[in-house]
């Protein structure tokens, strides 16, 4: 159980990280009329941050006990 307990805690920490990434004031930083490679900064941020979060979740979830 010790292994899964650590996994649960790490995933919960990722949840908190996600809540921070997708709320005020972090979102306000990106809510500006700039573009990255032609894509509005805010939308680019959403998908990059979201994808990275999923990648981290995969890493934590699939790590062997």
């Amino acid at each position: 159980m010790a292994g899964s307990d650590v996994r649960g805690q790490r995933l919960a920490a990722l949840c908190l990280l996600g809540l921070t990434l997708f709320s005020y004031p972090v979102l306000a930083v990106f809510n500006v009329p700039e573009t990255v490679a032609g894509i509005p900064l805010l939308y680019a941020y959403f998908f990059v941050a979201w994808g990275s979060l999923i990648a981290l979740m995969a890493l934590v979830a699939e790590r062997p006990d």
Partner: protein, 904 residues
């Protein structure tokens, strides 16, 4: 290509294909070779979350306010990160208690309360109606839109009279399809393998369809993402969409509330609970689902913005419904095949949701609403009926039809007032009301049935008043004045600005008030009353599910085995009941099961799989005479059970400690035995070594004694030998004493600063006689200044003497040469004693430092020393913090070296 007959034909072909997949999966499941026992199928089945709302509505939402569609998918991603803690627990609880639905879960937690189960069911059905109506609206309007081809119909043109109302037909067809799908037979475990397989397939279809149209819009209609966003930025009307917060996208607080709402929805939508918990085959599947399902949501959202902005740029304002862009964009470019694919994708999104949702709701309606009532009505004689499986199936089929028709009615009443997403969010807010009772129930033992009832009632009431009533009012089914002036003109109670709180969007407003009411009543009422015995027991089973020692039973009473069997047979059928009893008897190793607490519990659990916990409890109670347990007794039982856990834990610790202790003892014993053996060996070697000089002394003194006529020269020779042997004996005894003192630690060390130069000069002087005798040259190679070391002077002298005398002893006289050198070596002082003697073979280089071991074969070569000198030297050098070793090659001399740490 997009004619009516083609579209209808393709639709039915698709539904037929779904049915075939479900049929195949069911067959495989019956054969024991499940196709859905895979984390990938499990993850895909979770994607039933993406409905027509996602498929059509997200684009509409994005076209309206930019980012508003995203929290619906980011929220679940965040929640899923908590699943390893929360959902794993719910799955474990549900498996152990054979939970059949969300209502069953909550009712079971709060003392198998039929009232609570019924309440959850009512809230779920009423709350989900807008959501189902959304699917009907999406399917029927996509159907109508496709049939308009090549015209692109404006939203207003879609109103039709009842006989041509596709929504009604869609509802009826879906009802028939769901009945075929989900209620072909009664599964005691409430598993629908065929349904899950079909849902997983639908998830693939809708994803592929959406990605296809997204890619076509992005790279076919426009020149990639950059092109679309560039044109959007160039359009004055659309430009604000690119920085939506604080403008078109609302403020950050409504964004947060949408995220929270979606976090709760992913857990408590009846269909999500069904696929995540009830249909879960293996807890471990969660591990893959934790990232695969969010990945699916990410993928299906990538093209939402390009399609939304593409649609807004493409069609003149107001000529096309943004909810239908996915379909109308390909149609406007005569992409008939793509439009058909999109239509099927939307159909799969909607059917998946409707099938799972209505099956989950019908199970709840049957198990937690209708059956408890029917079973209580003794007049119906249900208790006497032989086989009730038909009745159960009938109730479920009726519920499916009823739910879909109610969804249709809602669509007619309020469906036109809101866009797809806004309609769906009303349902999200309804199921969010389950969160306090369900989440609180698995972590807080103090929560009670009354608390859950009060919380749900309060939350649902506020939801009804602030979200559902305004929806009716907006569609002119209720007077619009209700919204503007409040009920009976009481402004204070306006549904959209309750207690005068305004300035929030409708959803945030409703969520805040309903959650305040819900959590407040839940916690407050729970704390007011103590839980009953039954509640206390269930609370422990739920909260402590991971630490519980197997299954706990709390039952006392009398029952008969045949009556229990008959009861089970009535609900699951004779065949299944016989099988269950046979398995039970085999598992318990008995011929016929005895009617004890175990069997009663077993039967209740089997029944719970069909009827739900509350009804099963009522039924079992009807055939057994149960003695009511008091709260005190349940507490005692629980305490005993947890005591057992504590004891067994302690016992385990103790036995581990014992094992460690005995292991240590074994090792100590082995060490002692070895020491004993070494002592014996030592004594025998010492005796042997002492006897050699003693024997020779004795024989020479005997010769002297017995032969008085010996010449003076001979006498002197013999006496010389006796003196030499005596000296050897003295030396040997001195060394043995040294060894025993060193080993027992009784040596007194007098440490002082030593000048190694002086030591070597003195030693050379004192051993010069030895060198002269054997005519060996001693060369000293000493630097003019040598750093001092700290050690016991006498002992170090002893070491140097030993090394020098060894060198002389083993060397060939006349040609021999011994060199002694001192040098500094990395913080140590190093002394080398090099000779040109016979050398020492590699195998002996370590052994010679051991007690009584000498180089050279002890059998042939006469030992030339005691075999203790080097051993003692090593003990001395190591005690002083240095190292002693020899480097040599056979026939090439030897070099003994030792080091001592520099003082300072």
């Amino acid at each position: 290509m997009l004619g009516t007959s083609v579209v209808i034909l393709v639709s039915f072909a698709y539904l037929g294909l779904l049915f075939a997949i479900a049929y195949y999966a069911d067959q495989r499941a019956d054969a024991g070779r499940s196709v859905i026992a895979s984390p990938y199928i499990y993850s895909l089945s979770l994607a039933v979350y993406a409905t027509a709302w996602t498929f059509y509505g997200s684009v509409g939402r994005a076209a309206d306010n930019g980012v508003g569609f995203l929290p619906i998918y980011i929220g679940p991603t965040l929640m899923i990160a908590l699943w390893w803690v929360v959902m794993r627990k719910i799955v474990r609880i549900s498996k152990q208690n054979r939970i059949t639905s969300l209502a069953d879960f909550i009712a079971s937690r709060y003392g198998k309360s039929a009232l609570l189960g019924g309440m959850v069911t009512v809230i779920a059905v009423v709350g989900i109606l807008p959501y189902i109506s959304l699917q009907l609206k999406a399917v029927s309007s996509s159907f109508t839109t496709v049939l308009q081809y090549p015209e692109i119909a404006a939203p207003a043109a879609l109103h039709v009279s009842l006989p041509q109302d596709t929504a009604l037909y869609v509802a009826l067809i879906l009802a028939a399809f769901t009945i075929l799908f989900g209620t072909r037979h009664l599964d005691a475990a409430e598993h629908h393998e065929g349904m899950v397989a079909a849902i997983a397939f639908e998830s693939v279809v809708k994803l592929v369809a959406f990605l296809a149209v997204g890619a076509w819009v992005t790279w076919g209609l426009y020149n990639g993402f950059g092109d679309i966003f560039e044109r959007t930025a160039a359009d004055a009307q659309l430009k604000p969409m690119l920085t939506p917060f604080g403008g078109v996208g609302g403020d950050y607080s409504s964004w947060i509330w949408l995220t929270i709402l979606s976090m709760l929805a992913i857990m408590f939508l009846p269909r999500q609970f069904q696929v995540t918990v009830i249909e879960n085959k293996d807890e471990k599947h969660l591990r893959k689902a934790i990232w695969l399902f969010p990945l699916y949501m990410l993928a299906i959202n990538v093209f939402v913005l390009p399609i939304a902005f593409g649609g807004l740029l493409h069609f003149p304002r107001g000529t096309a419904d943004a909810d239908a862009f996915v379909l109308t964009l390909p149609m406007s470019q005569k992409q008939e095949l793509l439009a058909l694919v999109v239509f099927i994708g939307g159909l799969s999104a909607a059917t998946g949701m409707v099938i799972v949702e209505t099956i989950a709701l019908s199970t709840m309606v049957c198990n937690d609403l209708v059956m408890p009532v029917l079973l209580r009505l003794r007049g119906l004689g249900l208790n006497q009926r032989k086989d009730l499986t038909g009745l159960l199936l009938g109730i479920r089929r009726g519920a499916i039809v009823l739910i879909l028709l109610l969804g249709y009615v809602y669509f007619k009443i309020a469906g036109e007032a809101y866009a797809l997403v806004a309609t769906g969010l009303i349902s999200f807010a309804a199921v969010a009301q389950f969160a306090p009772a369900a989440l609180g129930g698995i972590f807080w033992k103090g929560a009670t049935r009354r608390g859950a009832l009060a919380g749900l009632a309060a939350g649902f009431g506020v939801w009804f008043y602030t979200l559902l009533l305004p929806a009716f009012a907006r569609s002119q089914w209720l007077p619009a004045g209700l919204l503007e002036h409040g009920p009976f003109g009481i402004e204070f109670l306006k549904p959209l600005a309750l207690f005068g709180v305004s300035g929030l969007d409708q959803l945030t407003h409703a969520m805040i008030w309903s959650m305040v009411a819900n959590i407040g009543a839940y916690v407050g009422v729970s704390l007011l009353h103590a839980p009953s015995a039954e509640e206390h027991r269930q609370a422990s089973l739920f909260v402590d599910v991971f630490t519980w020692p197997g299954e706990a039973r709390f039952w006392r009473g009398t029952a008969s085995s045949p009556s229990l069997f008959n009861l089970l047979a009535r609900f699951v059928g004779l065949k299944a009941a016989s099988e269950a009893f046979r398995d039970y008897a085999r598992a318990h190793g008995v011929e016929r099961p005895e009617a004890d607490a175990d069997l009663v519990h077993f039967v209740e659990k089997q029944l719970a799989g069909v009827l739900g916990a509350a009804s099963a409890h009522i039924m079992v109670a009807s055939v057994v005479k149960e003695e009511a347990l008091t709260l005190e007794e349940v507490r005692t039982m629980l305490d005993e059970a947890s005591q057992i856990v504590v004891y067994s834990h302690r016992l385990e610790q103790k036995s581990q400690e014992l094992e460690r202790a005995s292991q240590e003892l074994r090792e100590a014993n082995a060490r002692l035995t070895e020491l004993d053996r070494m002592k014996d060996e030592f004594v025998s070697t010492v005796s042997h070594e002492l006897r050699t000089p003693l024997t020779s002394i004795r024989s020479f003194t005997e010769i002297l004694h017995d032969n008085p006529q010996l010449s003076l020269a001979e006498r002197e020779r013999f006496l010389g030998i006796v003196i030499k042997e005596t000296e050897r004996l003295t030396r040997l005894i001195g060394q043995v004493l040294d060894v025993s003192r060193l080993e027992s630690g009784r040596v007194e060390w007098h440490e002082s600063l030593i000048d190694m130069r002086e030591v070597i000069e003195d030693t050379a002087a004192s051993t010069s006689q030895l060198f002269r005798e054997r005519n060996v040259r001693l060369e000293r190679n000493l630097p003019s200044r040598v750093p001092k070391v700290r050690a016991d002077l006498d002992r170090i002298v002893q070491v140097v003497v030993n090394l020098l005398s060894n060198a002389v002893k083993f060397i060939e006289p006349e040609r021999g040469r011994v060199e002694i050198a001192v040098a500094e070596d990395h913080g140590f002082l190093r002394v080398d004693v090099r000779d040109n003697g016979p050398g020492i073979s590699a195998e002996h280089q370590e052994i010679i430092f051991h007690k009584f071991r000498q180089a050279g074969d002890p059998l042939t070569g006469k030992p030339q020393g005691s075999g203790l000198g080097l051993y003692i030297s090593r003990r001395i050098i190591e005690h002083s913090g240095g190292r002693i070793w020899v480097s040599s090659r056979l026939g090439d001399g030897a070099c003994f070296s030792f080091t001592l740490p520099l003082a300072g």
